[in-house]
């Protein structure tokens, strides 16, 4: 055991003083982060320092999967290659048809004098790890603001929407999954164009379609896609399939549960879409007569 000097030697501030100092510092940071988001710069600096450590911690897993990949059987590769060739062939056909549709759409939009839709670029990123915070549904990807990832960008996999970039550090970025409790996605029912909003419930595998009247026209198996009217998510990305509807006239709203279309916890690679062009400003309500009168009075 370390022998401590008797207390009459000077040993700096007392234990309580040190505890108080560091607690107050922490509380100050908490308050600054929660209320004003002042701490982002500091977070970025620590994020840069942590990045090589995260890579290092990830290395054993990566090496194991690489060694596993090395010993994949020939027949498996052959089968996968066949499947991919087949898929590629089908998608090439669809793409050709789509090119014609895109051209036609642009032409029609010009005729109708509507704004052209901006073309989207996208970046492939790999998931470094699933968020360790059990309070939220987040993943961290290996691309960040230095690779052009922006906060607010939509993230998709091959079957649908996964989430949104909520924080872009220089080399990594945090994605809040759509199953996160704080995520809301504006959607449309493909079958009838009904607009609604899908809420995360805090665990994978289920989403809530809230605030729909009991007699709403939603059926089991309806596909929900992003409506694109929020200016965050591009329109038309599959979000969820309606899986269960409870209509109880005792409550004002129906309880509609959906399953996410994308594999929220299945993939290693994801696609980060670029930000949409900003929507035009929300129109300001014209001044009513009352307001004008008030102003006139004040002027006097």
């Amino acid at each position: 055991m370390q022998s401590s000097p008797p207390p009459f030697f000077k040993r700096g501030p007392s234990l309580f003083a040190r505890l108080a100092f560091f607690s107050v510092l922490s509380l100050f940071l908490l308050y600054a982060d929660a209320r004003f988001h002042y701490t982002e710069a500091m977070r970025k600096v620590i994020g840069v320092v942590l990045y090589p450590l995260q890579q290092l911690a990830d290395a054993p897993g990566q090496a194991a999967s690489r060694i596993g990949n090395f010993f994949v059987s020939q027949s498996y590769l052959q089968r996968e290659n066949d499947r991919l060739t087949h898929e590629n062939f089908l998608q090439a056909g669809q793409l050709q048809a789509q090119q014609a549709t895109i051209a036609e759409n642009r032409h029609l939009r010009q005729l109708l004098e509507m704004k052209e839709r901006a073309e989207q670029t996208s970046t492939v990123a790999e998931i470094l790890y699933v968020g360790r915070d059990p309070f939220s549904r987040k993943v961290v990807i290996d691309k960040g603001s230095s690779q052009g990832i922006e906060e607010g960008a939509a993230v998709v996999d091959d079957t649908g929407l996964i989430g949104q970039v909520t924080r872009a550090l220089p080399w990594t970025a945090e994605i809040a999954l759509i199953s996160d409790r704080e995520q809301v996605v504006p959607v449309q029912v493909v079958r009838n164009g009904l607009r609604a909003a899908v809420f995360g419930v805090g665990y994978d595998g289920a989403l809530d379609l809230r605030f729909m009247p009991v007699n709403t026209d939603v059926e089991n198996g309806d596909l929900l896609v992003t409506s694109g009217i929020d200016g965050v998510y591009p329109a038309g990305l599959p979000v969820a399939l309606v899986s269960n509807i409870e209509r109880n006239a005792a409550y004002p709203f129906a309880k509609i549960t959906c399953t996410p279309a994308a594999g929220l916890n299945r993939h290693r690679q994801v696609l980060v879409m670029s930000r949409l062009a900003p929507l035009p400003e929300y129109p300001v309500a014209p001044e009513s007569k009352k307001d004008k009168l008030k102003k006139a009075k004040k002027g006097k």
Binding site: L19, S23, L27, A34, L53
Partner: protein, 178 residues
């Protein structure tokens, strides 16, 4: 009887270890941070003890003069950035834990391993409770009872932590032999 047992603990089983160098402290804390950063999922993640808290607490008990609040606070900030959680909650929790460790260091090292675990478990639990409290204040919901599993596994790992951290401090050869 109690007195004789305590006396036995102090004189008999307490081995004389080499002095701890600050570099060794830093290396163990670094390894603990790496273990915390491992990309685990699901049950493994729920069961994973907070290695940084465990090692910080260990050094707070055994070397209270060489480790202070600053390493605890900085490692807490690092954990907050890695978790993407509110900035400062782990820093606060680790600071309070370091206070408990330094305040209790004489008392805890008097006890045997089994009774030390009974000290470690509530303090790790309290550390998690602070994190939970900050989340609650920020409007998050409690994830479930399994959230506290990691302080149980952490306390279980206390004897192992003690063994592993002592290895490089053992004297190479017994001075009495020479």
């Amino acid at each position: 009887m109690i007195q004789s047992r305590l006396y036995g603990k102090l004189s008999g089983s307490e081995e004389i270890l080499l002095p701890v160098k600050p570099l060794y402290l830093a290396i163990t804390l670094f390894i603990a941070l790496m273990l915390n950063l491992l990309p685990l999922t699901d049950w493994l993640l729920a069961l994973r003890p907070d290695f940084v808290a465990l090692v910080l607490f260990y050094w707070g008990i055994h070397q209270p003069r060489k480790i202070g609040f600053l390493p605890a606070w900085l490692l807490g900030l690092a954990m907050d950035v890695a978790d993407g959680s509110l900035f400062g909650q782990h820093a606060l929790a680790y600071s309070v834990m370091m206070f408990a460790a330094i305040a209790l260091h004489r008392r805890v090292s008097m006890f045997g391993m089994r009774h030390q675990i009974l000290h470690v478990a509530p303090i790790l639990f309290m550390t998690q409770l602070i994190v939970l409290g900050v989340h609650h204040a920020a409007g998050d919901q409690v994830p479930g009872w399994w959230f506290f599993l990691s302080s149980v596994t952490g306390a279980m790992l206390w004897p192992a932590t003690d063994l592993v951290l002592k290895i490089p401090l053992r004297q190479r050869h017994d001075p009495d032999d020479a």
